[in-house]
């Protein structure tokens, strides 16, 4: 969230309810911050299932394939040596590393993709400037609407959040903003 209005809620249930409420009011760019993943929050925000797995899969295949190819290149193509009378292209022996490299690529690419999708690392974010936001990682649940939402209106959102049970509401973002 670059900029927007946030409201602090006390329980995860209230947070889900607030999201539902905001959506009902027609807001689409809703975000929420909670100490742990809250059941139903994503569904309430009508977010789709993450697609990281599908992004990672081709990389994993490519990593495994490259590993196999490299082994073939080293042992059967570039410097073919008679090793114990074994075939130069000893396919079964090349499998373990192929598998390991597939897993390794998947894990590393997965992490990179996660960072890319979530914008991490990002030590500073406008929300961190919000008074009391530090409890979002402990026992508070913050829900907000992004200023980029087509129906965004600061006063209206603040009003809605208070109605939905926010103990306090705050503006996150540049100070000079509306």
């Amino acid at each position: 969230m670059r900029a927007g209005v946030l409201g602090e809620l006390m329980t995860p249930e209230a947070m889900v309810a607030a999201i539902v409420g905001l959506r009902a009011r027609g807001y689409r760019r809703i975000d929420a911050f909670s100490p742990y993943p809250v059941h139903g929050a994503e569904e309430a925000a009508e977010m789709k299932r993450s697609r990281i797995d599908w992004i990672v899969f081709p990389f994993a295949l490519a990593g495994a394939g490259a590993a196999y190819l490299l082994q073939w290149y080293c042992n059967a193509f570039d410097y073919p040596l008679n090793v114990g009378g074994r075939p130069l292209h000893s396919a079964p022996a090349f499998i373990p590393i192929t598998f390991e490299m597939g897993v390794l690529t998947a894990a590393i690419v997965g992490l990179i993709v996660y960072f890319a999708l979530t914008g991490l690392p990002e030590l500073w974010s406008p929300v961190f400037e919000v008074e009391g936001f530090e409890r979002a990682s402990i026992d508070r649940f913050w829900v907000g609407v992004d200023a980029g939402d087509p129906r965004f209106d600061r006063a209206a959102v603040e009003q809605a959040l208070v109605e939905l049970g926010a103990a306090r509401v705050a503006w996150a973002g540049p100070r000079w903003a509306p």
Binding site: Y79, L81, N82, V83, G84, G85, R86, P87
Partner: protein, 971 residues
């Protein structure tokens, strides 16, 4: 020879003539070599190496191309001819001289190892007088001065020698000092052979056995295949009759009676375990049986003989000795009796009688003695000791032999020498004798000496220096020349003068050149004489011999490695496993399992051995197959004053030796001592095959009945792997080896040759105790049957160069791979040292550099580096190594053949160091593409097999199952 005279190197075998111009270059090369070698041990890539060219290039030398020169190495007076490989001025490897009768191209372990002695950093470097450095002129003044007493107080003690030069010099000395006396003494040599001949023939003749013609042999306490002056010749000739080329082919038969299992005994078809003192009884019983056979011509009165032998013969089992006697008689004319060095004269005499009965004219030659003998001017060691004790000796000149250590203990020479006013000792080390002598002169190593020598059959060979002396020193010839009156004798000039004088009219330079090239003086062997048995003295001696007493007999024998102690500072020999016991870095009291059980003694227990008031402490070692009620001790250990390698190694068995009982005596008392065990470093700890088909054997009869008894251990196996490229006749080389177990004596010469050729480090006793020996080739010895009377088989085990090598596919860095010509290559510089290959080697022939052995073991340091073969990488710590089939030799030969127009490598053109050394020629090496080679022919024999064939490793080293030829009459 004039140094400035151009010298044409002689072409062809065996030697490359005389090294030229060594005086000017020797030290120079040492410098160059040490720089090169200093670099060879490390990475050496960061500092810039130096190139040191000759200032004047010797005419016959191309730096980088090794030369081979002939010379001779003598042991206890008898010479063995050798070829010495010299790399850029450094003698680096001893090989056999095929032209020399005592070598026939083979070498023993001692010959192989002697090159290390040359570079021993602990060799003394200066003349000492009363332990302070002194100069040669001062010594010559003392030795060369005139004596008013005509030499009455002058005594010489030297080792027996056959050298014509020394003989002539002794004559000169005795002409100048007629009253002087000379003593010949060798601790590891007995005179009972010549005494026995004296009893039998009335004169001291030497028996030379020609085993090329011998079908049945009865060896009595005689290890004729692995010790004695002609053992290399005996071994090769014996193997020729022993090797059975096809099922049903004839082969010889060997009976052995002995106490401790010897290499010879391990090949016996029937082995009688007897105390040394009971061996006479065996021969007596055989003689009695022989005398009773119809076709035997008896040169002595039968009744008298039977009467004389009866007390001895009665102790033996008649059916057994009867069968032996009948077998011998059946082969009369091609049978012989060999009596061991340490048997008493009566046994030797009886042996001569038996040989006469067996019509042995063609198998046993009788020769006049080869050694120098001075008649009345000679006295024995006991007489010398008595004279010194009586104060009759003012000057004692000791020329080698270390008598203060190695003389019989009851003579107490160590004390007596100090009582001589002037004692002069020429010795290889600053040893026990040097410590008690006033003068000490370092002796030259044989490889830096000039001289001549005679083989056991009298053949004369020259000893030529192959390197300028590394240290100040002298030789017996020079010392005698000084006494004879020369001021500045030089051995080379003495030698040339002697032979010039002797040859008179013949072209001396041609003789000199040819002899040095060939290594022997052609036609110089002693002629055989015919001598009839003289019955009188023989019978009375036999009758007078008392039967052996009861009790434990101790047998004192020279060690198969350090001999009489002279090689004690040779780390290679110390670490070379003794045959059969595989003991290194120690000697031990060998005893039978039954005796050990009776005494409550186990391996490594310390025992006190007492004999006639003297005693030593020794570790016990149970030796399967040892005669009961007997203990064998090996001499040459427990040096009281010795150099670092020998220090603290073993116990001194000379302490139990007396002048009259040099071979041992009955009456040994053994006490078990408590306390900690004395760890014995042995390279093999398990002696049973556990029923596994590892070393196959059969009798000749079984072989004839079932020639395919090794079928399970050879032939194709099903495999999922792609087929291997074959090796057709005449195609590119495919190296392979075949080893005939029938003729392997387990002597260890191959192992020693391998070490010398391949820069193999020693690891010390500690290393052996930790099972970290580095030998690329080992000899596995397996015992079968009861440990009281086991059957033995030796199996040389080296890298098998498997075509489907299990070591190769587990190496993560491709440091061990297969070459197109069938070698299992080990690339040290690629090895990271995972040791996975060793785990997966079912033959366990890979060796690991656990440490930087040069850094870790002092015996690998210093001058000994100069011995190293520059064609073989010195291995760094952390890398694996193993037998390479001497790949440096293969590649050199291959390059030569390729340069000569890509011609194929000829049959027998190259061989490995082990095959080259093997006394029995049991190891054959060649390319499979030479189907006519012995290696390939042997493989086609039905008894061919591969060790662990069932694993599918397809080894390139194949074995021929051992075939024994027991007498069917004996159950």
């Amino acid at each position: 020879m004039n140094d400035d005279e151009p010298f044409e190197p002689a072409e062809g075998r065996p030697g490359d003539g005389e090294p030229d111009g060594i005086t000017r270059r020797a030290m120079l090369e040492l410098c160059g070599a040490s720089v090169a070698l200093a670099a060879a041990t490390g990475c050496g890539q960061n500092k810039r190496d130096k190139l040191l060219p000759y200032t004047v290039n010797p005419p016959d030398l191309t730096p980088g191309i090794p030369l081979r020169f002939t010379t001779s190495l003598s042991l206890d007076g008898y010479a063995t001819g050798v070829l010495v490989r010299v790399n850029d001025g450094r003698p680096s490897k001893i090989e056999g001289n095929p032209e020399h009768p005592a070598s026939l191209g083979a070498t023993g372990a001692m010959e192989e190892a002697s090159v290390l002695g040359l570079y021993d950093p602990q060799r003394p470097r200066a003349i000492l007088h009363r332990r302070a450095p002194a100069a040669w002129p001062a010594l010559t003044r003392v030795l060369g001065q005139d004596r008013p007493d005509r030499g009455a107080g002058l005594r010489f003690l030297l080792e027996p020698t056959g050298s014509p030069l020394l003989g002539a010099l002794l004559d000169r000395v005795l002409r100048r000092f007629p009253a002087a006396r000379v003593t010949f003494h060798a601790a590891a040599r007995s005179d009972s052979g010549s005494l026995g001949a004296g009893l039998a023939f009335g004169r001291p003749l030497q028996a030379v056995h020609d085993l090329r013609k011998t079908d049945v042999i009865l060896a009595l306490d005689a290890d004729f295949l692995a010790s004695g002056p002609f053992h290399l010749r005996h071994a090769q000739h014996f193997a020729g009759r022993r090797r059975i080329a096809a099922p049903g082919a004839p082969m010889s038969r060997l009976y052995v009676a002995e106490a401790a299992l010897s290499p010879t005994g391990s090949l016996a078809d029937h082995r009688l375990q007897r105390r040394p003192g009971d061996v006479h009884g065996v021969l007596a019983a055989v003689a009695v049986e022989l005398a009773g056979l119809p076709d035997v011509a008896l040169p002595v009165p039968k009744e008298a003989l039977l009467a004389a032998l009866a007390p001895h013969a009665a102790r033996e089992d008649r059916p057994l000795v009867g069968a032996i006697a009948r077998d011998l008689a059946r082969h009369a004319g091609s049978a012989s009796v060999i009596v061991g060095e340490w048997q008493p004269p009566e046994t030797h005499a009886l042996g001569h009688l038996c040989n006469a009965m067996l019509r042995s004219e063609s198998t046993v030659d009788l020769l006049s003695p080869t050694l120098v003998s001075l008649g009345a001017q000679e006295q024995d060691l006991a007489a010398l000791a008595r004279e010194i004790d009586a104060g009759g000796v003012d000057t004692l000149v000791i020329l080698e032999g270390n008598p203060a250590y190695a003389a019989p203990a009851d003579l107490d020479l160590e004390r007596l020498i100090t009582r001589v006013a002037t004692s002069v000792y020429l010795g290889s080390y600053d040893d026990e004798t040097a410590a008690v002598s006033q003068w000490f002169i370092p002796a030259r190593h044989p490889l830096e000496s000039w001289g001549d020598a005679r083989a056991y059959d009298g053949t004369i060979s020259l000893i030529q220096a192959l390197i300028e002396p590394l240290h100040e020193g002298s030789s017996p010839a020079e010392m005698l020349a000084v006494v004879a009156g020369d001021a500045h004798p030089e051995a080379r000039l003495l030698l040339r003068a002697h032979w010039q004088d002797r040859l008179k009219d013949r072209d001396f330079e041609a003789f000199w050149r040819d002899t040095l090239k060939l290594g022997v003086v052609t036609g110089s062997s002693s002629p055989a004489v015919t001598a009839p048995i003289v019955p009188g003295a023989l019978l009375s001696a036999l009758a007078a011999k008392a039967p052996p007493a009861a009790g434990i007999e101790v047998a004192l024998r020279p060690d198969s490695r350090v001999h009489d102690g002279r090689f004690a500072n040779n780390a290679w020999l110390q670490e070379l496993p003794r045959p059969l016991t595989k003991l290194t870095w120690d000697n031990a009291a060998l005893m039978s399992p039954a005796l050990a059980a009776r005494l409550g003694v186990t391996d490594e227990d310390r025992v006190r051995l007492s004999l006639g008031g003297r005693s030593v402490e020794a570790p016990a070692l149970i030796a399967p197959g040892h005669a009961d009620e007997a203990v064998t001790l090996h001499l040459g250990y427990g040096r009281r004053r010795a150099e670092p390698v020998a220090r603290g190694v073993g116990f001194d068995a000379y302490r139990l030796r007396t002048w009259t009982a040099r071979s041992g005596a009955v009456g040994l008392e053994i006490t078990r001592l408590g306390g900690a065990k004395h760890p014995l470093a042995r390279t093999q700890m398990h002696w049973s095959t556990e029923g596994r088909p590892l070393a196959l054997r059969a009798t000749a009869a079984e072989y004839q009945k079932n020639p395919d008894f090794t079928a399970e251990q050879r032939g194709p196996l099903p495999s999922l792997m792609p087929p291997l490229p074959g090796s057709g006749a005449g195609g590119p080389p495919q190296w392979a080896m075949t080893i005939d177990l029938s003729i392997c004596t387990g002597c260890g010469a191959c192992e020693q040759a391998c070490q010398a050729e391949n820069n193999i480090f020693v690891v010390g006793k500690e290393g052996i105790l930790k099972s970290r020996e580095m030998h690329w080739l080992r000899i596995d010895t397996y015992y079968e049957g009861p440990s009281e009377a086991p059957r033995v088989i030796h199996e040389p085990m080296l890298c098998q160069h498997c075509e489907r090598a299990p070591c190769e596919y587990v190496c993560p860095v491709n440091a061990t791979v297969h070459s197109p010509d069938g070698l299992n290559e080990m690339i040290y510089n690629r090895c990271v040292g995972t040791r996975f290959c060793s785990n997966n080697c079912p033959y366990k022939v890979r060796r690991f550099n656990w440490f930087d052995w040069e850094d870790h073991v002092p015996a690998n340091q210093g001058l000994v580096r100069l011995q190293r073969n520059p064609e073989v990488t010195v291995r760094q710590r952390g890398v694996m190594e193993k037998c390479t089939f001497c790949v440096q030799r293969l590649r050199a030969t291959e390059l030569g053949a390729r340069i000569e127009g890509n011609r194929p490598i000829r049959e027998g053109e190259v061989t490995t160091a082990c095959a080259q050394a093997c006394p029995t020629r049991a190891i054959q090496f060649d390319s499979l593409s030479n189907p006519g080679s012995a290696m390939a022919r042997w493989r086609r024999e039905p008894r061919n097999f591969a060790v662990l064939h069932e694993l599918g490793t397809q080894p390139r080293v194949n074995y021929l199952a051992r075939i024994d030829n027991p007498n069917p009459e004996i159950g």
